[in-house]
């Protein structure tokens, strides 16, 4: 008798679990429309991230008061994710969310919004009509090895910048010269930003092909860690997806190697295509919290 009761209980419990699951999945797929009365789920990057630093400065979320103090006014309810992929996954899975990522990492799983009618494209970043962009920097000590200098010459040559463009970033200048190998040999360590790493890997691959006998090791550690190891000497060249801090600039030379746009992304189910610059700011400072305030 007792066994039968406990058995029925177990069956009922598993049934409840099962229905709970199926209910949630139907309501997720069943509702086709996009309800603009819903709240905006804001997704941001963590404090100190190069992407966030550039984004808040350009959009105006970072405000200066009369004393010259800088205040990052990012909405307190914003979800914080610590990588480009995590932001994309969150936005792809949540219909009412908005986020920002590097333009070079943009994929079909999410939708990039036009800003003031300008599409987030490579051409528009280059001619400056797309407003949200930032430089990718490399930094090195003043006593850089000849091999290191040759590698930097390669990056800033016609061949190097072509790779930058192929990877979906914008070249730093259109006035370029061809690369002439100085036939160096040896090893080079490059460390830093996770955003710069993909393009740096392609550059290193091509450089090793052009200069047999060289080997370039790339460590994807994050901008600040990269600067740190370059200053300490454990890396020859550091990569940063942000401007250098004063303490870093004292010890290191730096050069921009590419320009990257920052795409504002929403779920593919979102009906909004175009957003104004001011409204992005309103969303990220928490002034606009529902989608219908954006649509008008």
């Amino acid at each position: 008798m007792k066994k039968i009761i406990s058995l029925t209980l177990v069956v009922i419990m598993s049934f409840i679990f099962a229905t709970g699951c199926s209910k949630s999945s139907t309501s997720k797929d069943g509702v086709e429309g996009f309800d603009t009365s819903n709240g905006i789920n804001v997704v941001s990057r963590e404090d100190g991230s190069g992407t966030r630093g550039a984004f808040v400065e350009i959009v105006g979320v970072l405000e200066k008061d009369e004393n010259g103090n800088e205040v990052d006014k990012t909405y307190e309810e914003a979800i914080i994710q610590n990588s480009t992929d995590a932001v994309m996954t969150t936005v792809a899975g949540d219909k009412y969310s908005i986020g920002y990522i590097s333009l070079g990492s943009l994929s079909d799983t999410v939708k990039a919004l036009k800003i003031d009618g300008v599409e987030a494209s490579f051409e528009n970043v280059q001619d400056g009509s797309y407003k949200i962009s930032r430089p990718f920097n490399i930094a090195y000590k003043k006593d850089l090895s000849p091999l290191g200098e040759d590698f930097i010459n390669f990056i800033l040559s016609t061949e190097g910048q072509k790779i930058v463009v192929d990877e979906g970033y914008v070249q730093v200048s259109t006035d370029l010269s061809d690369y002439n190998s100085s036939k160096e040999k040896g090893n080079l360590t490059v460390a830093g930003s996770t955003s710069v790493t993909p393009v740096m890997e392609k550059l290193a691959e091509k450089y090793e092909e052009l200069n047999p006998g060289t080997s370039i090791e790339i460590q994807s550690t994050g901008s600040s860690a990269g600067m740190q190891s370059t200053m300490e000497g454990s890396a020859d060249i550091g990569m940063a997806s942000r401007d250098l801090k004063d303490s870093e600039m004292e010890k290191l030379n730096h050069k921009p190697i590419a320009i990257d746009g920052i795409a504002v992304i929403v779920n593919t189910g979102n009906t909004i295509e175009d957003i104004s610059f001011d409204k992005i700011k309103a969303i990220y400072t928490g002034d606009s919290t529902t989608w219908d305030s954006i649509e008008k």
Binding site: G20, A78, N82, K245, S247
Partner: protein, 286 residues
């Protein structure tokens, strides 16, 4: 002569092995205190522990970690509320009620649970618990409840295995005496055996709390990580551990030191939990 040499050599090897872990813990202590204390001294212990603003990119920056301390506290309490009853009842069931066949199946399952990497728990929660919570409560689905459910599941193996062992360690005569006095099987276990295993059960809860407090990779995916004072069960929070992991990659200068100081606070918490654990344990032995 030769034998004597081997004797000495082996002795040295054993001492060296024993020393490795001690040296490691000492080095960790030195690193954490060295890195964290100068910052706390400079910024002020009160400002650091009780400050409600964590805004490292502002100038001047503010480094108050009270939101993260409260966040860790809420999430841990939530995990205890969900995990402890399930854990203790499961342990009681395993030790006293289940038949051999079922036990042979359940026990390896629970052992397997403790071996699953935490990031996998995190992905599981992100793809299943988060959408369910989003449907029920609205919003983002990344909040204290989600994290509590996830951590409640994650501390189960710890609680179950230690509680089960302590229930099994209760002398059989307690149970037999209770039965002899006319109590039923259920009553004997719930009123006599379980209370007798109290200290073991409490230790299991303390270890579970330690696990929940220190958990990072799974929590990072499902709490939303907002660095502000907890604003309700259906709102996101940031815990001490996730604060360190999220910002460490890009942090420089003072920001970096502030994160190491956060690690110091976490370290002190874990130390306190371990001290409480050993006090409880000692009381059992006496």
């Amino acid at each position: 002569m030769k034998r004597n040499f081997i004797e000495k050599l082996m002795k040295a090897i054993f001492i060296f092995s024993a020393m490795t872990s001690i040296v490691a813990i000492i080095l960790i202590c030195i690193f954490i205190f060295n890195g964290g204390l100068p910052f706390i001294k400079e910024y002020g212990l009160k400002n650091f522990l009780l400050g409600q603003q964590w805004k490292p990119s502002n100038s001047p920056p503010s480094y108050g970690i009270l939101p993260m301390i409260m966040g860790s506290l809420y999430v841990t309490i939530g995990a205890v509320i969900i995990g402890v009853p399930i854990g203790i009842f499961t342990a009681t069931y395993l030790a006293k009620f289940s038949n051999k066949k079922l036990y042979k199946f359940l026990k390896p399952c629970i052992n397997l649970m403790s071996g699953i990497p935490s990031i996998i728990y995190g992905f599981f929660a992100l793809t299943t618990i988060v959408p369910i919570i989003r449907n029920i409560f609205g919003g983002t689905g990344m909040n204290i409840i989600t994290a509590s459910i996830l951590l409640g599941i994650m501390i189960l193996p710890t609680i179950i295995s230690i509680s089960e062992a302590s229930i099994r360690a209760v002398p059989e005569s307690y149970y037999e005496g209770s039965i002899a006095l006319g109590a039923s099987h259920e009553r004997s276990i719930m009123a006599i055996v379980l209370p007798a295993a109290k200290s073991g059960v409490i230790s299991s809860i303390i270890l579970g709390i330690g696990r929940a407090l220190g958990e990072t990779m799974a929590v990072i995916l499902v709490t939303g990580n907002q660095a502000r004072m907890p604003a309700g069960l259906t709102k996101g929070v940031r815990t001490l551990t996730t604060n360190i992991v999220i910002e460490m990659t890009y942090a420089a200068d003072t920001h970096r030191q502030a994160l190491i100081a956060t690690a110091l606070v976490l370290f002190v918490f874990i130390l306190l939990i371990n001290i409480i654990f050993s006090i409880v344990k000692r009381r059992t032995l006496n």
